[in-house]
């Protein structure tokens, strides 16, 4: 299986793309900083959010029961799914029972995680992702490369080509205004023809039995306000105890995600529309296991704002697809190995441990610390790549023997001085890629120390 470095190498094969991707995301990070600084109480908001989440996960079973009770009282049907397969089966059954042929869906990372679309499509149901970015990657037969900005990896010219092929826009047209207008027309038609609307959930409120969905485009609201069936899919960690907690989370979410003070639409659903059905699917899919892990429990605090991706020096330069995961970037590098350590073994290493992710996280997840712990876990599970294992055992042998360390240092200095460039900057030395190695000092630290203290 190819790991993150191989896929990242594919992404940066076009050097302009890596630089452009890096700058686009840094622009979003800068907007986040500006929005955060405009709020004097920003840091105490983060503390409050982390405390609410810690309290909620400590009492999650009670809050889930409270939520179910109140949601049912309002007329919603509540379903429980242990894993992705059960989730997909539940959604398909609801749709089949109502003879649904066309579904419109707003952004939901959970349904991505469960691979719902192919499951429904195999049953002959048309699923249209209605978030513009998600529609673009759906037409391109790709997966989102970012949880908030699904097609941040695509140039407008590529989107123009895609729309020309699928939506009949003018060949060569790449103006974002023109392309968005074309998508608006195309998707409006799908909204009007849909038999059911599917959404994710940003926050579910135990106290009221309602839930909140946030979008900028208004696609969730259009999608569920026309057809008679609304299905909302959520991970069990989306619970918050009280409606007043939303004040804390809605103030943090959009500012952290894109630097907006709030998303354009923050919709509060309590019960179905008159004469319609509302189904809520509560999904575990490994979350309860993470709940029992002291080292990783806090990763369940995540509100999917994407701030850790926008700030991550590795993500910005390697692109979301290099993670080969539903949730890429720093938080994904914790969540994904929890689900499948062997498949995602390279992700906790796609990190310089700079800690910037933890600094911007609105719910104060210790992301970089968890990534370090994951590396240890991978060693224990025997999932460290061979190259790293060799390097580590050589390193360990050298550091345990002062004489060997001294000799190796001397050889290194000599080699850097004498070896020709083509040997130093060869395939055997990844540290020589895209950077100059330092000029070796004439004397080692040890020699300098000896000379100064005249021993």
């Amino acid at each position: 299986m190819t790991g993150h470095p191989t896929r990242a190498a594919e992404f940066i094969a076009l050097p302009q793309r890596a630089a452009w991707h890096d700058q686009s995301l840094w622009f979003v990070r800068a907007k986040r900083d500006k929005a955060a600084k405009a709020i004097p109480e920003w840091e105490s908001l983060r503390d409050a959010a982390a405390a609410i989440k810690a309290h909620t996960v400590a009492n999650l079973a009670d809050y889930l029961e409270e939520f179910e009770r109140n949601a049912k009282k309002l007329g919603a049907v509540v379903h429980w799914a242990r894993d992705a397969a059960e989730h997909n089966a539940i959604v398909l059954k609801i749709l089949s029972d109502h003879n649904v042929k066309r579904v419109v869906k707003s952004k939901s990372m959970l349904t991505e995680e469960c691979h719902l679309n192919p499951h429904l499509e195999a049953a002959g149901i048309e699923v249209v992702d209605t978030d513009l970015g998600e529609r673009i990657v759906q037409l391109a037969n790709e997966r989102p490369s970012h949880i908030v900005l699904p097609c941040i990896h695509k140039k407008k010219e590529e989107i123009g080509e895609l729309f020309h092929e699928h939506l009949g826009t003018d060949a060569g047209a790449s103006d974002p205004q023109y392309l968005t207008e074309a998508a608006r027309g195309h998707l409006r038609d799908r909204f009007l023809k849909a038999d059911a609307g599917l959404t994710g959930v940003n926050f579910a409120i135990a106290e009221t039995g309602g839930f909140v969905v946030c979008t900028n485009e208004g696609n969730a609201d259009l999608g569920v306000s026309l057809p008679p069936i609304h299905i909302a899919c959520m991970g069990i960690e989306k619970l918050i105890p009280k409606a007043s907690d939303l004040g804390v989370f809605l103030r943090l979410l959009a500012r952290s995600a894109t630097g907006q003070a709030i998303t354009t639409y923050s919709s509060h659903f309590h019960g179905p529309r008159a004469g319609c059905e509302l189904h809520i699917v509560l999904v575990d899919n490994g979350r309860s296991t993470v709940l029992g892990q002291d080292d990783f429990r806090r990763s369940l605090n995540c509100i999917r704002c994407g701030a850790c991706m926008n700030t991550c020096p590795v993500y910005r330069r390697s692109g979301g697809h290099s993670y080969n995961a539903t949730v890429p970037g720093p938080i994904g590098s914790i969540l994904e190995p929890a689900r499948d350590p062997a498949k995602h073994a390279s992700l906790p290493h796609a990190c310089s441990l700079c800690g910037s992710c933890s600094d911007v996280c609105p719910v104060k997840i210790n992301i970089h610390e968890q990534l370090l712990i994951w590396r240890r876990e991978l060693v224990k599970k025997g999932l460290l790549p061979l190259t790293k294992r060799w390097a580590m055992s050589i390193g360990s042998a050298v550091f345990q023997r002062p004489w060997l360390y001294k000799m190796a240092g001397g050889m290194g200095r000599l080699a850097l001085k004498l070896l020709p460039r083509f040997l130093v900057y060869s395939r055997l030395n990844p540290w020589g890629k895209q950077r100059e190695l330092p000029t070796p000092p004439k004397q080692s630290f040890r020699d300098q120390y000896k000379a100064r203290h005249g021993k």
Binding site: S24, F27, I39, P40, E41, A48, A51, I52, A58, L60, A61, E68, W80, R82, T130, D131, L132, L149, P150, C151, K154, K155, K156, I159, P176, T180, R184, L187, L192, T208, G210, N216, E217, G218, D221, L222, S225, L226, I236, A243, S244, L246, G247, V248, L250, R251, A261, I262, T264, S266, S267, F269, H270, G271, D284, S288, T289, L291, G292, R297
Partner: protein, 197 residues
Amino acid sequence: MASSRDAILATVRAAKVPQAARPEPFRTGIRYADPLKQFGESLAAVGGKMIVAPNAESARAQLLENPLLVPGKKTCSLLPEIIAPTFSLDDVADPHDVEDVWLAVLPGEFAVAENAAVWFLGRRLKHRVVPFITQHLVLVVPRDQVVNNMHEAYDRLKFGTVEFGVFLSGPSKTADIEQSLVIGAHGARSPSGVMLG
């Protein structure tokens, strides 16, 4: 066989997460010397426009300065004294039939200064799709109904019955194509906030 519900709840309970007290409600939200002015600035920042009008007549005159809001196009209005409706929503059986609404003039319950959000209640309308499907949206809020921040906003909200409510902040937008901001992704292309009174 245990149901999935019971199995999930049992695993969650078995996780034995250390207890953490519920924090005190957050009460220290930002406050503004002039919340109305701040609301106007927040709305302008997200691509909307605030109109302050002492009465319906003035509101109408100021709205009609916008060439997009030409009277006569299909209009859904709950505030006929500002702009008259061209049809009665109550006579429409199927929400799909409001697809071609050009302008909606609807009452907002209150506005939030920090983020230009206006709280709108679905029960005001027979078909709640109207504010999302219309091409242009005007929300009318009494000018003394502006709170500073979201904490004050939730202090005013009571949930517990079947209800749909939404905070609307500015026009529908997307920046999914190369981070270029485009107004009018799916929903209203131009929302105005009329602060009345």
